[in-house]
């Protein structure tokens, strides 16, 4: 896309985009660290992750202020306007991703003792890997504007949902087998739910990028929520 006649407007839009990229990078790190803290029971890393999430909140607040300022000063239209709204909404999703990572970190600190089942840990790890891939792919697509990549991210969310559902079943089984597993399993279940939500946020970001680039909404329906939703608070 060619440049604005008013070059400072260009700078404004570029600034917003680079803030999103920066937030995205931090959000990815937070998720990765939180999951490592959980799997390795690294309470120090969990602590640092919780701390780092504050930075993400700050960045989101600042970006929001920048967006409002640009709207007030430039009265953007068309693609410019869509870009600014996309930045606002994507930053919101990224901030929520940070919250999910923080929550996983807190649970990592709360869980006592070892995982009784390696399989469970592997399940969580696998889900987390998928969610991080999604996050990375969607953030790349934000920079490139590649709509095909955006649609792929959108379509892949089902896989995370499916993994979550199966993990949910496994955890239930463990809890029923031995009530002493309940605390640990409940924590893991919430962690898995948080990861599943991270996937949802990646999907939201995909939808926002699609609208930003094309001006249309993603033609596909929103991916179906996981089937356990009805049973959970």
């Amino acid at each position: 896309m060619s440049d604005h006649i008013v070059s400072s407007f260009n700078e404004d839009l570029k600034d917003l985009a680079s803030r999103i990229v920066e937030m995205g990078g931090l959000a990815e790190t937070l998720v990765s660290d939180a999951v490592q803290a959980l799997l390795r029971k690294d309470s120090g890393l969990a602590e640092r992750t919780i701390e780092a999430d504050r930075r993400l909140d700050e960045m989101q607040t600042q970006l929001e202020e920048r967006c409002i300022l640009v709207i007030a000063r430039r009265q953007p239209v068309a693609r410019d306007l869509r870009e600014i709204f996309a930045a606002l909404r994507i930053s919101n999703d990224l901030e929520r991703v940070g919250d999910m990572a923080k929550n996983i970190s807190k649970r990592a600190q709360a869980i006592e003792g070892n995982f009784n089942s390696k399989q469970l840990a592997l399940g969580v790890e696998h889900m987390a890997e998928l969610a991080m891939e999604q996050l990375k792919a969607v953030l790349d697509a934000y920079t490139t504007g590649d709509l095909e990549a955006v649609e792929q991210v959108h379509a892949r969310d089902k896989q995370i949902d499916a993994l979550y559902t199966s993990l949910f079943r496994q955890l239930l089984t463990y809890m029923m087998e031995d009530p002493r597993n309940i605390t640990m399993c409940a924590h893991l279940l919430f962690c898995a739910k948080n990861i599943e939500r991270i996937g949802d946020h990646a999907t939201n970001i995909a939808e926002n990028i699609y609208y930003m680039v094309s001006g249309d909404h993603l033609p596909i329906d929103r991916p179906k929520k996981d089937e356990t939703d009805v049973d959970l608070p």
């Binding site: 896309m1 060619s2 440049d3 604005h4 006649i5 008013v6 407007f9 009265q75 953007p76 239209v77 068309a78 693609r79 410019d80 306007l81 869509r82 001006g215 249309d216």
Partner: protein, 277 residues
Amino acid sequence: MAMEMTAGTVQTQNMTGALPLAEDGVPIKMQAQKVNVHYGEKQALYGVDLDVRKNNVTALIGPSGCGKSTFLRCLNRMNDTIDICRVGGNILLDNEDIYDQRIDVVELRARVGMVFQKPNPFPKSIFENVAYGPRIHGLAQSKAELDEIVATSLQKAGLFEEVKDRLDEPGTGLSGGQQQRLCIARAIAVSPEVILMDEPCSALDPIATAKVEELIDELRENYTIVIVTHSMQQAARVSQRTAFFHLGYLVEEGKTNDIFTNPKDQRTQDYITGRFG
């Protein structure tokens, strides 16, 4: 109606019932079909097709020199006053070709009124400025009727309260914003069906502009309005339809909401967002 009183002209009753409908079901008040305009050797408009929807505000936007004013002036044959100007194609008002031999141009301009960029009241009293049109068109049978027309026109133009105690003072003594609303009152006074406005707010401050924009929105109920504006925000605020002109071509016309969120043509996008075209 004034039109029926003017002798020897084409029957010009409102034929709303017979108006063609746009794809969204809105009646089309004016239709430009393959309009070409030349000034001498130089071509200013190329095959412009545009439907003007009834009771809508249609905004014409585009870079300087793209032909907006030229197009606007075609709609009430103001171009006739320019010797070197030739207009080709058809322009229909209520399905009738306004360039037809039998059309009375004076009457046409009463039906399709115009408000200009710079407020241009006559060097006469406020009252006379508004009364002039109805008088030459024989719209009033008596002084009382004329008074009535002047008062309602000023009211519709949102100016009556500000000037009712000084109707005898010269129109040129009003502020710029008041003068522009006086010119709108003058245009309304002859009961036009269509009002053309060429950058009506470019000489006004934001408050006066807001008043004129509010007025345009109210006038839409009874009139069809075509407005040329250089302010993208104004086009976005006041119009339902927007037409983007570029180098003499109509590039894109559509719902204002669509044009300002998701224009189809890259040139429109570049123009409204302030990029190089």
